[in-house]
């Protein structure tokens, strides 16, 4: 399995990368971790003429708390997030998610930006970012813009990024006190794409009432799904067994899975229900500390 030939570019700045993108357009592919792109190139499912490797551009890998957000550079590796004390403490849901992606070697190279920009509904981070209400920052010939993740995944393997844009940063609002989240993934074996995955994030006030809820679903539609009805059902509730069951049912109803080797449509929808409830239970336990 050998990739087709291509020209290789190593810009040392974002400006340089942007001008290369403008020059080669659809013939170019951006390389960051390469853990999805290179297998596709080896199977010759992708044969880009130009590879633009962003790894030589300084300042694109970081995790920091700033302006009420956790900001993560697009080239931050999964392994770096896994080891981040900040993420472990403030965003356990993101820690859960990262650990379930592929395997340790792939996570040493794979990047958060790549995981999102690939637009694969089977990737795990999109659901979590939907649950957390994150936004991504992209830079293009006309400057920088922020895109809420709710508007980012537009179609199968298609994002809101323009062909000449580069994703540079992910911004996650810091959950207020009383928050907790969890990501659960059913997989045929470890490292597999999800049969179904559910990210759940809740905030609970002093009276025990849910003030905010976010639920994202992995690999159960042609795009990552935000289960808005389920979220609405939880907001204002006391998160009782009945509340969780009904929310789980609404999340399942929001999924649009298709039957494949991982299971039937019916099975996957049922799994969204089961995993949503379990993820919420874990999220609530964490929120209550």
């Amino acid at each position: 399995m050998i990739p087709a030939p291509f020209d290789y570019h190593t810009p040392s700045s974002l400006d340089e990368a942007l001008s290369l993108l403008q020059e080669y357009g659809y013939e170019a592919k951006i390389l960051t971790g390469g853990q999805s792109l290179l297998p596709m190139m080896k199977l010759r499912l992708a044969e880009p003429e130009h590879i633009i490797d962003l790894n030589g551009i300084p300042g694109l890998a970081y995790i920091r708390e700033e302006d009420g957000h956790v900001k993560i550079g697009a080239l931050t590796r999964e392994a770096e997030m896994e080891e981040s004390a900040l993420i472990r403490a403030k965003l356990p849901i993101l820690h859960d998610t990262g650990k379930l992606i592929a395997d340790p070697q792939v996570r040493n190279l794979g990047t958060l930006g790549g995981n999102l920009a690939h637009g694969d509904p089977g990737n795990d981070h999109p659901a979590t970012m939907l649950a957390l209400g994150a936004r991504v920052v992209a830079i293009g010939p006309n400057g920088q813009r922020a895109i809420p993740v709710t508007e980012f995944f537009v179609d199968f393997y298609t994002t809101a990024l323009e062909p000449e844009e580069i994703l540079t940063e992910i911004q996650i609002p810091l959950p207020p006190p009383g928050s907790g989240g969890a990501y659960l993934k059913l997989e045929r074996k470890v490292g597999d794409y999800a049969t179904a995955g559910v990210a759940a994030q809740v905030t609970i006030d002093a009276t025990g009432r849910c003030t905010e809820a976010g639920i994202g679903l992995t690999n159960v539609s042609y795009v990552p799904v935000k289960a808005t009805d389920a979220e609405a059902r939880l907001r204002g509730s006391t998160l009782s067994e009945v509340d969780l069951n009904e929310a789980a049912g609404l999340a399942a109803a929001a999924s649009r899975p298709s039957s494949d080797l991982r299971g039937s449509e019916e099975y996957k929808r049922a799994m969204v229900r089961v995993l949503t409830k379990r993820a919420l239970q874990r999220a609530i336990a964490r929120a209550r500390g």
Binding site: P3, P39, I51, D103, V106, G191
Partner: protein, 163 residues
């Protein structure tokens, strides 16, 4: 398509070669440098037989271009034993019968080097998840887990002595 010049330090020695950009690191190691200890077992980044260290981190060398390793340090199975002395992991695999056909072994050992580097005292679960990107068809993993535990204990004991 133009070739590129790469300089890659492998097991302490720097090698400079003109390569096609599409050349995979695993082929650079095996065919350009004749370091055949790193193996290829799949096309899809699943099996881990090609695992090497890139600047100390375990990666799958079939899913990295040689040009991406330019200016970096690579360690392969050939560079693990030092001064004729087997690494505690190599010793552990032998003592605990953690290998049979030996084909997955170099990747397994290289992965375990980083695993113990990050987590010197892993639980059985840490080890099993830690090697989940490496497939073995012969051993059933039980003795690989024991081999890594053996090395962890030995390395900790050595560190205690040094301290």
């Amino acid at each position: 398509m133009a070739t590129r010049t790469v300089s890659i330090t492998v097991n302490g020695e720097t090698h400079t070669r003109d390569v096609e950009p599409r050349l995979l690191l695993v082929h650079f190691l095996r065919e350009n440098l004749d370091l055949t200890g790193t193996h290829i077992g799949c096309d899809t980044s699943n099996c881990g037989a090609c695992t090497v260290l890139l600047d100390g981190k375990s990666i799958k060398s079939c899913t990295l271009l040689a040009v991406q390793a330019h200016g970096k340090a690579v360690t392969t199975i050939e560079g693990v034993a030092q001064g004729g002395q087997l690494h505690p992991l190599q010793e552990g695999f032998k003592e605990k019968h953690g290998l049979q056909c030996g084909f997955c072994t170099p990747g397994m050992v290289m992965r375990a080097v980083e695993l113990l580097d990050k987590n010197p005292d892993p639980t059985e679960d840490d080890i099993r998840w830690g090697i989940s990107g490496n497939l073995c068809r012969c051993t059933g993993y039980v003795n690989i887990v024991k081999a890594i535990q053996y090395a962890a204990e030995k390395m900790q004991a050595e560190e205690a002595v040094e301290a």
